[in-house]
């Protein structure tokens, strides 16, 4: 699962549209699974399920008609039982699928978009801002669908603004800044770049140590509370605390946001 990140206007959607041969690059080439996206576009797209950021729909079609129509345009067969399972999991009823799309809410259109992308169970899913417009419960259902797709060996390429979501579901990330890929890494490696947040509470007042090693950033030091950011293993601190009246220790996992917001800030400056 690959998370494709970037601020608005960074070029995420443009990149996705080039991969699908909807846009033609002015220079360079794009390929998926070793196949050129332009000259071998048909082969590429026969393996792709795509959810656009904004779904262009004919308002007088029903949900069912749209799914059938898009299913017939593909080369991979749509297994009816799997589609029904998707419909059920994303809580669209048969009655709702018979309704015209003009009556659909934003969230319902998004669910329909997800179903059409998943329905032929393609080897590669390209999802542009997939959880935009989904309520929290539906987001959970979507994450489950993603992890099941991953378990079946499918590849997911999703763009998102939501860093916590990417940190939760993706294995690798790419960060786009002004059209350039400035970071390409596993989520674990990116997390390792981030400091861990550490707070230590003491039973009674303690003196501040003279010097903290360089990898420790001091956020706040009070007589009974130290709040720090630590890069790498704790090392020195564990030894130092052994002689102090420690009441509690809280260590937050490193967050993707801590690293990525730094990249974002560099862009906005």
């Amino acid at each position: 699962m690959f998370g494709f990140l970037g601020l608005n206007g960074a070029g995420k959607t443009t990149t996705i549209r080039i991969l699908l041969d909807l846009l033609r690059p002015s220079a360079g080439r794009a390929s998926i699974m070793g196949l050129d996206c332009q000259s071998q576009g048909l082969e590429v797209r026969s393996s792709v399920g795509y959810l656009p950021g904004e779904m262009g729909l004919y308002r007088d079609m029903t949900g069912r008609e749209l799914l059938d129509f898009l299913g017939r345009l593909g080369t991979r067969p749509v297994v009816e039982s799997y589609r029904e399972q998707l419909v059920k999991r994303l809580e669209l009823s048969a009655a709702e699928l018979k309704r015209k799309l003009r009556e659909y809410s934003t969230g319902m259109k998004r669910k329909l978009g997800l179903i059409q992308a998943f329905q032929s169970d393609p080897p590669l899913l390209i999802l542009d801002e997939p959880t935009e417009g989904l309520d929290p419960l539906m987001q959970e259902s979507f994450y489950e669908l993603l992890s099941e797709a991953k378990a079946r060996g499918r590849t997911v390429f999703m763009s998102s603004h939501v860093l916590s979501e990417v940190g939760r579901v993706c294995d690798r990330i790419g960060l786009l800044r002004k059209g350039e890929l400035v970071l390409l890494s596993t989520v674990e490696d990116v997390r390792a770049l981030a400091p861990r947040r550490l707070r230590v509470w003491f039973d009674r007042d303690v003196n501040r140590p003279g010097d903290f090693p360089a990898k420790y950033e001091i956020v706040e030091i009070q007589p009974r509370l130290w709040s720090l950011r630590v890069h790498g293993p704790l090392g020195w601190l564990t030894e130092h605390l052994s002689g102090l009246p420690v009441l509690d220790i809280e260590i937050d996992e490193p967050r993707l946001e801590d690293v990525l917001t730094r990249y974002y800030r560099e862009e906005s400056q």
Binding site: L20, D21, L22, R45, P52, E54, M55, G56, R72
Partner: protein, 270 residues
């Protein structure tokens, strides 16, 4: 190929109401014209009607005036009345600009993210134009046939089947010509309204050019640019054969329009 058929079926389904309503209206119009012509015929009004027309109009219209002032002539008006031609050209523009509409609504993103080659989108539109044009013209001919068989007064001189077929064929090729132009514009445009307006205004301008050129000599030198110049219904009513040249020119423009559409659409950003 399967995908292209799916696309065509989808488009046919979307335009079926428009095409059915237009076919029915134009078919009814043919029947109404036959009722009108029958009424004039029964009251021996064609002679009186002819005498009411001022001389300058007779001179302007030439010998075709005589052909028009007859039962047969009035029946044929249904194939070149300005309202009929305007409706049909409007229909073909609407059909031809469908790709621009699909791009504008972003529905094309969903279509072309499937393994469907771009040329099938244009092929779909060409097939749609041909099918709908043929259907509407057949409906009109059916209206004429029905009206003549059930409502024409006895003794009235019917237009020949060949004349009706020639008018319908020439009108059909003219429609396809405008469809080709509309499709070419739609293959470049991002908005259907832009493509439709440009082609609509072009159709109006060329219609007026052809019209003005009939009465004003200086305009005659450029009147060949107007596709309407290659549809001469009054000549057909007067018994002339349909000039193959006219059909070739119109079909040629249509073919160029289609070829340009394939070229532009294969290279454009969606």
């Amino acid at each position: 190929m399967n995908g292209a058929v799916t696309l065509l079926r989808h488009s046919l389904k979307r335009v079926r109401t428009l095409v059915l309503v237009m076919g029915t209206l134009l078919s009814v119009f043919q029947v109404v014209l036959i009722l009108v012509a029958g009424s004039i015929q029964r009251s021996s009004g064609f002679d009186q009607l002819g005498s009411l027309i001022p001389d300058f109009m007779r001179n302007l219209m030439g010998p075709s005036f005589i052909g028009l002032m007859s039962f047969s002539g009035i029946v044929c008006v249904g194939y070149f009345h300005i309202a009929v031609m305007g409706s049909l050209v409007g229909l073909t523009i609407a059909l031809g600009t469908e790709p621009a509409s699909e791009i504008e609504t972003q529905f094309m993103d969903l279509i072309l993210s499937r393994p469907l080659a771009r040329h099938w989108v244009i092929t779909r539109s060409v097939a749609l134009l041909l099918l709908c044009t043929a259907f509407v013209l057949l409906m009109m001919m059916l209206g004429t046939w029905t009206g003549l068989h059930f409502l024409a007064p006895s003794g009235a001189e019917w237009p020949t089947g060949e004349l009706i077929r020639s008018l319908a064929l020439n009108l059909g090729v003219l429609m396809v010509c405008w469809g080709g132009i509309a499709l070419a514009a739609a293959s470049r445009a991002r908005r259907r309204s832009v493509a439709g307006s440009v082609v609509g205004l072009l159709a109006l301008a060329t219609f007026l050019l052809d019209y003005v050129a009939r009465a004003w000599q200086p305009a005659e030198s450029i009147a060949w640019l107007s596709p309407f110049r290659y549809y001469a219904p009054l000549d057909l009513v007067m018994g002339k054969q349909i000039p193959a040249h006219n059909l070739w020119v119109l079909a040629g423009v249509a073919a160029c329009g289609f070829a340009i559409s394939y070229f532009l659409f294969s290279r454009r950003d969606i």
